[in-house]
C-alpha cells in the first residue's frame, strides 16, 4: 500500500516536473531565437544593410518584445528612410521601458527632423508613463488587497487593530486609487498609434474612393476611435478621418 502511494506521488511529481520543463524549454527556445535574430540584426546594421537589419530586429521583437530590440529596429527603419515605423518602434520601446534613454533621445531627434508632433497626452495618461504599464496594474492589485487585508485579517485572527494597521491601510488604499487613474491612462494609451506610411491619405469615408481630407505625414500621432473593415477612424492633431489599417500602427497592437 505504502509503495503504491509512493509510486503514485512519484508519478505526480514527474508529471508536474515534465510540464514545468516543457514550459521552460519553450520560453528558453523562444528567447534563444529572439537573441539569434537580434545578433543578426546587429551584424546587418554594422554592415550597413539596413533593410535586412530591420527584418531581423522585427523578427526578434515579434518573438520577444524588448526595449533594446525596438530601439535598434527604429534605428534600422530610420536608416531605410521609414520615419513612421521608426517612431513607432521607439514609442514601443518607451512603452516597455519608460526609462529607456536611447528611445527618448531618438524620438526627440526624429520629431525634429520629420517635423511631427508627439502625442498629446491627458494628465492621467502622462501619469501612466511614470512606470511600465504592467507595473501599474500590479501596484493597484497589491495596494488594494493590502488595504483589505490590513482591515480584515486582524479581526479574523483575533488580533487587536493597531494604529499602524489603519495608517498603512489608508496609505495602500490611496495608492490603489491613484493607480486606478494611471491604469485608466494605460488603457487609454493603447489607442494611440502613429502613421507609418508616407503621406497617408486621411479620408472622409472608409472606402478607397473616399474623399481625401488631407495627407498625414509619417510618424504623425493619432488616436484610434473605431475600426470598420480595412479602415480605422482616427483623430489626429489636424482632424479626424479614415486611414487604411496598414497605414496606421498602434503602440500596443491587438
Amino acid at each position: 500500500m505504502n509503495s503504491f502511494c509512493l509510486r503514485l506521488k512519484f508519478r505526480h511529481w514527474l508529471g508536474a516536473g515534465l510540464a514545468i520543463a516543457t514550459v521552460l524549454a519553450g520560453l528558453i527556445s523562444g528567447r534563444a531565437a529572439a537573441n539569434d535574430a537580434f545578433a543578426r540584426g546587429l551584424e546587418f546594421s554594422r554592415a550597413g544593410e539596413f533593410p535586412e537589419a530591420a527584418a531581423a530586429f522585427r523578427e526578434s521583437a515579434n518573438a520577444q518584445p524588448a526595449a533594446g530590440t525596438l530601439v535598434n529596429l527604429g534605428l534600422a527603419e530610420w536608416q531605410c528612410g521609414h520615419a513612421g515605423p521608426a517612431i513607432l518602434a521607439w514609442e514601443q520601446a518607451r512603452w516597455i521601458d519608460p526609462y529607456e534613454q536611447r528611445a527618448a533621445a531618438n524620438l526627440n531627434f526624429a520629431r525634429q527632423v520629420a517635423q511631427v508632433d508627439a502625442p498629446s497626452l491627458k494628465w492621467y495618461e502622462a501619469v501612466s508613463t511614470w512606470l511600465p504599464p504592467n507595473a501599474w496594474v500590479w501596484l493597484a492589485g497589491l495596494a488594494l488587497w493590502l488595504a483589505v487585508g490590513l482591515l480584515v485579517l486582524p479581526g479574523i485572527f483575533r488580533r487587536p487593530r493597531a494604529g499602524w494597521h489603519r495608517l498603512l491601510a489608508a496609505l495602500a488604499f490611496g495608492i490603489f486609487l491613484f493607480s486606478l487613474t494611471a491604469n485608466s491612462g494605460v488603457v487609454s494609451r493603447t489607442q494611440i498609434g502613429f502613421v507609418v506610411k508616407k503621406n497617408a491619405a486621411l479620408r472622409l469615408t472608409p472606402t478607397r474612393e473616399g474623399e481625401v481630407i488631407t495627407a498625414v505625414a509619417a510618424g504623425e500621432p493619432a488616436r484610434r476611435l473605431r475600426t470598420r473593415g480595412n479602415y480605422v477612424f482616427v483623430r489626429t492633431l489636424g482632424g479626424a478621418g479614415w486611414l487604411e489599417r496598414d497605414e496606421f500602427g498602434l503602440i500596443c497592437p491587438r
Partner: protein, 609 residues
Amino acid sequence: MQNGSHFPDFTPRLSRAWRMAKRARRLLISCGLLAPLALAAQTPPHLPPGGLIQLQVQQPAVDITSPVTATASFDPPVAGVGQKIFYRVSVDATESSVDWPDPPPVPAGLKFGPKTSGQLTQMQGNRFRPLAAFVYEVQPATTGHFSVPGFPVMVSGTAVDVPAASLDVTTTDSGLPPPRQLRLDLSKTNVYLGEPFRLRVILPPGPNRQIEAVREIELNGDGLMTDKTALQQAIEPVNLDGELKPAFVAEMIVTPIAAGPQRVWAQGFTAGTEFTAPFVIRGQASLAAGPPKYVLLVSDPVEIRVRPLPVAGELPGFTGAIGKFFADPPRLSANRVQVGEPVRLTLTFHGEGELTRFVPPLAPRSRDWQIIADPPPATSFTLVPLADDSHETPAIPFSYFDPETGKYVDLTIPPLPITIVGEGLPATVATADDEGAAQPPLKLSAPAPRPGKIAGSLKPLQLRPWFIGLQLAPVVGFVALWLWDRRRRYLEAHPENVRRARARRALRRERKELQKAAAAGDTAAFVRHAARALTIAVAPHFPADPQALVGGDVLAQVTGAATPNHLATIRAVFQAADGQFATHPPLAPDLPALRPGVETLLQQLEEKL
C-alpha cells in the same frame, strides 16, 4: 513563347521546272543580299527634292480599257442524276463592278444552291487584270439536256453577255471525273467560344497527279475569325478517300467568335505554280506546268459546334487563353533595387494549345508598384517600385481555360522576394540656440548592444482576461478566511457539537479495532475495545471524559431505550473488561455470542450522537 507542335522535314524532290525556278529565285535573293555590301562604300548620291519618287519600283498598270469578257460552263458538262455539279461564270472585271443577277436564269429540273463568289488579280502580259468568278452548286433532279441561256450582266454600267452553258444529265455515271473541290480538315469540330483551332484547306491533285497552288483562300461562314498571319502552306501527302496522295495544303488558325452551330466552307482559286507565300514540300510531288488557270473552287460545308465558356468558376486574370498552358518559374532581373529603379520580370509560358492567339496576363494595379506590361507577344513586365515598404513583387493574376476538363485553371504569377532600398533619412542635424550660436548637433543614438528589458507582450495586463481572473484569487482567500472564522465562532458557541464530533471519530476508530479483534478471535481485546467504545458513545451525553465512565454510567444512559438483551450485553462486556484486573479472572465470555449484540448497541449509540 514556344510552341509544342512541329513538323518533320523531308527532303523535297522537285520536278525539273521547279528546280529551275528555285535556282532563279536563289540567284535573285543572293543579288538582293549582296547589293547593299557592294554599295556600302559608295557616297550616297545627292538627290533633288522629290527625286526619291524616281527610285520607286514602277508597278504594272491595271488593265481597265480592254473589253470585258465572260465565260460560263458546267463542271463537269456530263453528269448523272443527283451528282454534284458546279455552274461557274468568270468575268474579267472586279467583283464589285459586276451587277450579278441572283439567281441567274435557271432551267427547270436543275436545283441551284447558294452563290459563292470571289476575285483575284491575274497578270496578263505586263498588266494586271481583275477576274471575278461566280459559282453555284447544282444538283440535277432528272435526266436530260439542260441549258442555261446566255444573259447580260451589267459591268460598270456596260452590258456584257454571259454565254450559254449546257449540261447533259444521264441516268448512269458519265465516267467523267467528279468536279474539283477544295476539302476542309478541322483539328476539332467541338470547340469553346474563343478557342483557336487549326484548319487545313486541301486541294487534291488534278489530272496526272499534278499539284496546283491555291490563291485567295477565304473561309465563308459567320462566327469565325481567321488568322491569316499564321498561314502555312505545304505540299504533303494527305489521306484522300483512303489513299495517300500529295496535295496542296494551306493551314491556318481559326477562332470561333459566336456560340452555337457554325457552318464553314472554303473557297479559293487554283493558281498553277503561283505560290504567294513560302511553302514546304514533303514527299514526292509534281507541279502543274504551263500558265495557271484560275478556277474558283469551293469546299463542302463543315458544321462546328461552338460552346460558350462557362461563367461559373471563372478565375481572376482570365485573358481568354484556352488550351493547356504551363509557366516556368518567373525570373527577376535583380533582387535588390532602389525606389524608382525598374526591374524586369520575365515570364515564360509553354502550351499544348494554340499560342499564336495567347494573350499574356494583364498588368494589375498596385499602390506600391508601377507595372508595365511589355507589348504582346512578349510576356514580361517592367516593375517600378514606388515605395520601399514592399518585400515582394506583386502577384500577377492569370488563369486559362482547359477545354479538356472544362474548368478554369489558376496560373497566377506568384510574388517574388525582393529588397527595395529607399532613401535614408539624416542621422545628424545641426542645431543652434535662439541667438544663432551653434550647438552640439542632434544625432541618433548608437544601437543597443543587448535586447534590454523584455516584455511578454506589448499588450498590457489590464487588457488580458486571465489577469482579471487572477484578481479573484485574493477574494477567494478572504472569503475562505471569513467562512473559517464563522465556523470557528459557531463551534465555540456550541461545544456539544465538538464533543459529539470527536466522539464519533473516536467511536469509528474503536469499532475498527473491535472488528479486528473479533476477526482475530482475541476475546480480551474485543471486550476492552467494546467497553471503551461504549463509554465513548455515551460520554457526550453527560458530558464527561470517556475514561471517567464505568459500566453503570453506560447502563444509566441507555436504560429506557435499550432492550434487556442490550443491558445484558453491556453488563457482560464490562464484567469481562473489569475481570481482567481481578486476581482470578472469570471465564472469558463467548465472543461469537457477544459480537452481534455489541455491534447493534454501538450502532444505536452512534446514531444518537
